[in-house]
């Protein structure tokens, strides 16, 4: 099938963003006013940008400063000397590579499971008719916003009883029960033109075949969004791993960060070094796939 179907619309138009602002013919006075406006707007934008970037900049500065310098009385916006000692220290004292690996492993498992589950469920809600569909959809919707804190005590006991407390699975399985992707998937699948699916039906394909061979190949933008958002969610997740992991060899990076902070003599430079390590992969992903992230945020209401 070489149809270049324009389905992703629902997703893609949300953030094509760069629609040229309207600018019709103007009198020269208006044009001058406009130029002045641009200057003002640029100044505001620069100030906002500085505020937004400063915390990240400061993380980098503290991570590369000599120990303790950030809290000396002298006001400085730049390290007196750039050093990598904080990184060496944090790698020496803590199993950082292990934590990083745990974050990767848990993130990949959660992402794989969640995306598969979301795609299947989203397709069922969008395209299949069956008894109980609407009730189930409402139920799924209702669960989406429930914070883990509301049920964490029971969830903790459940995971203990299942014998997966303190293991990867104790983080992965509850993590994969997240529903936000289902809505994203459902919206996307509803947007697929009926003719494509009808044509496949006439060709004699069953629902499963249609899903695998017709729908999925058309859903690459959706799958990309789901993968990125789910990966980000699990990479940054804190509350549940905090409860479900007790062995510091199994910690993910956020829990490792907390562990560092809770040391009796916390080394803030080392903490920032680890924070930087934990943040970089997501920043890199975001900068590479910004469009998908933004579409996903916009459509799913993930904050």
């Amino acid at each position: 099938m070489t149809q270049t179907v324009a389905i992703p619309n629902k997703l893609a138009t949300t953030m094509s963003g760069d629609r040229e602002p309207r600018r019709k013919s103007r009198s020269s006075a208006a044009a001058i006013g406009d130029r002045k406006g641009i200057v003002w707007r640029s100044i505001i934008a620069i100030v906002v940008a500085i505020i937004m970037v400063f915390p990240l900049y400061w993380m980098v500065v503290v991570a590369f400063s000599p120990r303790g310098e950030a809290f000396e009385p002298t006001l400085r916006f730049w390290p007196s000397a750039w050093t990598t000692e904080n990184f060496q220290r944090v790698f020496e004292l803590y199993p950082v590579a292990t934590w990083f690996g745990n974050s990767v492993v848990i993130g990949l498992f959660i992402t794989f499971l969640t995306v598969v589950v979301n795609l299947l469920a989203g397709y069922a809600f969008a395209r299949l008719r069956f008894r109980g569909r609407n009730v189930l959809f409402l139920l799924t919707l209702a669960t989406m916003m429930i914070p883990v804190q509301a049920i964490m005590v029971a969830q903790f006991r459940l995971v203990s009883d299942l014998g997966i407390y303190g293991s990867y699975w104790g983080v992965i399985l509850p993590g994969a029960a997240a529903a936000f992707g289902i809505f994203l998937a459902r919206q996307f699948f509803i947007g697929i033109p009926d003719e494509i699916i009808e044509a496949a039906k006439i060709d004699g394909s069953g629902q499963i075949r249609i899903f695998l061979q017709v729908v999925l190949p058309l859903s690459k933008p959706l799958i990309a969004v789901l993968i990125l958002l789910t990966l980000m969610g699990s990479w940054n997740d804190f509350a549940w791993p905090l409860i479900a992991l007790n062995d510091n060899q199994l910690f993910t990076l956020p829990i490792g960060l907390l562990y560092l902070q809770n040391q009796t003599a916390p080394n803030y430079n080392a903490t920032m070094a680890l924070a930087l390590i934990s943040v970089l992969p997501m920043v890199a992903l975001f900068l590479s796939f910004q469009r998908y992230f933004v579409q996903g945020f916009a459509r799913s209401g993930i904050r």
Partner: protein, 313 residues
């Protein structure tokens, strides 16, 4: 009965065979539908519905640690009503919500208007504003902890340098709460901007053109065109922001731990404290149920209105 009426109504009575076939095919489609849903349902049943029921049960029990639980009826809820820290946490949650939500939304709208206007390097600015969304709450909280550090943190050093007094970000309740509010706004304003930007881009440019011809000022245009026409986005954001504020955990846990005293304790951190630090799990579960009910109320409102939003854009 039903078959009779069905046959009576149908213009061409169907012979039983195709009907059976149709029923079979409908059954098959139902089976496939349930099959597609099965993994999701299984996970939700085990890791959401079961814990919800269990939490409900726990909330009627007195269970410290792993001792055998004792059924105490509504005692946990009664305790909750008379627990000053619960009410303080409740009040803090509301204060946090009231402080974060309007600022984030107004700020988000202003930034969206800015990003929707003629501006050099718009893409770069937009990226920078959205960037904090991918930073984890824990990392943000730790960075903020260093920036807001009371003795010689960068903010207090700057305040002293320009002749102001340093602020007691850690030892004073209100500044502590404000510091968390600021970080939450920093994390979320990008999301608000994205949603508003999408809303703005659906407004017909001709409307502004017409308003300008009528001599409307920029402020009047904003008030009479932009704000009403992004109404659906505003409502959506209101719900999302309120829910997010209601559930703020990572930031508070990392930045203040609920302190000083209980002055930044919120419902979710208080539930965690009871469930896992004091280990009064029955009581923690009861607080969880309260959070659950409040969340479901908001979700219900959102669901009730999501259709209008989808229609409007």
């Amino acid at each position: 009965m039903t078959s009779l009426t069905a046959r009576g109504r149908g213009s061409a009575p169907l012979s039983p065979r195709p009907r059976a076939a149709r029923r079979a095919s409908r059954l098959r489609e139902s089976l496939i539908g349930w099959g597609f849903l099965a993994p999701n349902l299984t996970l939700m049943a085990i890791f959401l519905f079961l814990p919800i029921l269990w939490a409900l049960q726990l909330s009627f029990q007195d269970s410290r640690g792993f001792g055998s639980p004792e059924w105490v009826g509504l005692k946990n809820y009664a305790k909750l009503v008379s627990d000053p820290v619960f009410w303080q946490s409740f009040g803090n949650t509301i204060a946090f919500t009231i402080l974060t939500v309007p600022i984030t939304m107004i700020g988000g709208l202003c930034l969206a208007v800015l990003m929707n206007s003629v501006l050099p390097a718009r893409g770069v600015f937009r990226t920078v504003i959205v960037l904090p969304m991918v930073i984890s709450g824990v990392a943000s909280g730790m960075i903020a902890g260093i920036i807001f550090y009371q003795s010689n943190g960068i903010i207090n050093k700057v305040l002293s340098a320009v002749g102001l007094y340093p602020v007691a970000w850690q030892s004073d309740g209100l500044p502590a709460l404000i510091s968390v509010v600021i970080v939450a706004i920093w994390l979320r304003i990008g999301f608000n901007m994205i949603i508003y930007l999408a809303g703005l881009q659906r407004i017909e440019p001709q409307l502004y053109e017409a308003a300008r011809i009528d001599g409307a000022s920029r402020w009047q245009q904003l008030r009479s065109i932009t704000v009403p026409l992004v109404g659906p986005s505003t409502f959506f954001l209101l719900i999302m922001n309120v829910i997010a504020s209601f559930q703020v955990f990572d930031l508070i846990f990392v930045m203040t731990g609920g302190g000083p005293g209980n002055s930044t304790s919120v419902l979710v951190t208080y539930a965690y404290r009871n469930g896992f630090q004091i280990r009064e799990q029955g009581y923690g579960a009861a607080i969880g149920i309260v959070i659950l009910i409040i969340t479901l109320l908001f979700t219900f409102v959102q669901w009730k209105t999501s259709r209008t939003r989808d229609q409007a854009g």
